[in-house]
Amino acid sequence: MSSIESTSPGGAAVLVRPATPEPPPPEIVSERARIDESCAVPCLVWFASSLFWLLVATVFGLVASLKLHIPGMHAEQAWLTFGRIRPVHLNLVAYGWGAMAAIGVMLWLMARLSRVPLRWPAALVFAAGFWNLGLLLGTIAILAGDSQGIEWLEFPTYVAFLLFVGFAITAVWALMTFAQRRVEHVYVSQWYMFGALFWFPWLYATVQVLLLLVPVKGVPQAAINWWFGHNVLGLWFTPIGLATAYYLIPKVIGRPIYSYYLSIMGFWTLAAFYNWAGIHHLISGPVPAWLVTVSTVGSMMMIIPVATVAVNHHMTMRGSFHLLRYSPTLRFVVFGSMAYTIVSLQGAFMALRVYNEPFHFTHHTIGHAHLGVYAFFTMIMFGAIYYIVPRLTGREWASSRLIKIHFWTTAVGITLMFLVLSIGGMIQGFEMNQASASLGSLMDEHGFFGGVYEFFGGFEVQNGAVPFLDIVAGTIPWLVLRSLTGVLILVGHVAFVILVVRNVHAWGKQRRGGPTLFHELPATATPALATTTATTTQTPAGGEERA
């Protein structure tokens, strides 16, 4: 049995071979195995669905991206126009991939932290059915031209109803699991999940009533739209991403959170400040100036919870960064946590008028969006799925190489996508608002560096100095590069889906010697989906073999 003991000075986990491996108390192993077993079917259904939508959404994203630099592509097909493809991409990444992965992770985490199995898992499968039906109908509706035309809320009301039912069931289940908990204490991840479970229905119901059922008139529509759009990111995806990181980082490296006090403070300050920030999406829009100012202040206040998370995760990992080489989960989750700090600090500054005004209508914003929803949230969900699925199926991942392909294509892909969109968007913004001439023409005149200097140096506002069509043409190389990064990411997603399918179906050669299951499972607690007996035996080399 390979075991990692805390022998380094900083308490960091290092791998050593124990002299005599002590057997774990059977009641603890069987308790965890029973919980995993109860989660197996519902969580795998939510994960499998999320991965299906991830692939579909990625293809839609890629097609949307291609259409921005090949505008004639499928232009004659109404259902393939950009105005329909883009909202399908957005809604499927948000409610298909993001929310379904989040709910799967949340159910497992809640059961594990409460130390009780999930009861009546069939109801959660039923809820996934509602959710999937909603996504299918919503996608067809948008492609058929029946979109609501409100960003983040394009699905028709009947779809919202289906999603709401699916969500209500999962929320009740998560809360029931918590109510039956066998531990008194509420771990910080549970606080974040409570927040998410409480806020999401509140947001979604409010916005459905105020924008779709009995719509308010005029400017408040935009304000409510962006109160929702921002909060669905900050009070639904963000808390679930952070809950996961707060569990997995310490759990994987075997070291408690550096400062539990900071983590709790981070939760309550997030709860206090995020809700104020939504109107920063409407800076310079036709809303009262004080409302924008309040949102800017709220955005800056967000630096407090963000700093608590950044300091805490960094200090927890200090001395353990070398473990990134060995744990797939850790790689994805630490990447995601770092992205959280970067995207949030960037966001706080984007909420300043001076930063926002030149870049709002550019690809720069799209760069920030992908840094948040992909580099932060999506990467953490990937890491969580790497941790959870083997424990549900009782099977090790089939291939290290595929995991590494998945990690590197997505990590490099999203980093490049962010850079390309940020730089391309910045040039676009300067050309639209401030530059005296286009970057290309200044480079022709002054050379590469001289041109860049003149371009960014000419800070006085010269609205309209560069013809709009030249600006559009200037974005094309950046958009082509974005499509290439999209291809890289798609390759990573395909690798991931192959891994999960092979794991769940036990296809192909099964790897022996899995590190993910450390101990012999009692015969009564074999994970439900394992077709082979998932017991582990010790090998002299310190590894494990599955018998």
Partner: protein
């Protein structure tokens, strides 16, 4: 119509704020803001104690081999 909105908005604002205050009060009473050290360690068990890595790439047996020779990982 406007009155209905005002009533709705303020009722829900009230409910929302009250629930947050209640949650905070509950947390204080339950001692969630004490014994931080113990609370942070709540995710470890006797068989997955502090100091044990719980996730490794499949087939990283060679890591264990290295350690068998006395070298530390990293």
């Amino acid at each position: 119509m406007l009155t209905v909105y005002y009533i709705l908005v303020f009722t829900f604002l009230g409910l929302f704020s009250t629930s947050v205050v209640l949650a905070f009060w509950w947390a204080v009473r339950k001692g969630e803001f004490r014994n931080f050290k113990e609370q942070a360690a709540a995710i470890f068990d006797a068989d997955e104690p502090e100091g044990r890595l719980t996730d490794v790439f499949p087939g990283m047996r060679e890591v264990a081999e290295t350690n068998r020779k006395g070298a530390q990982v990293g």
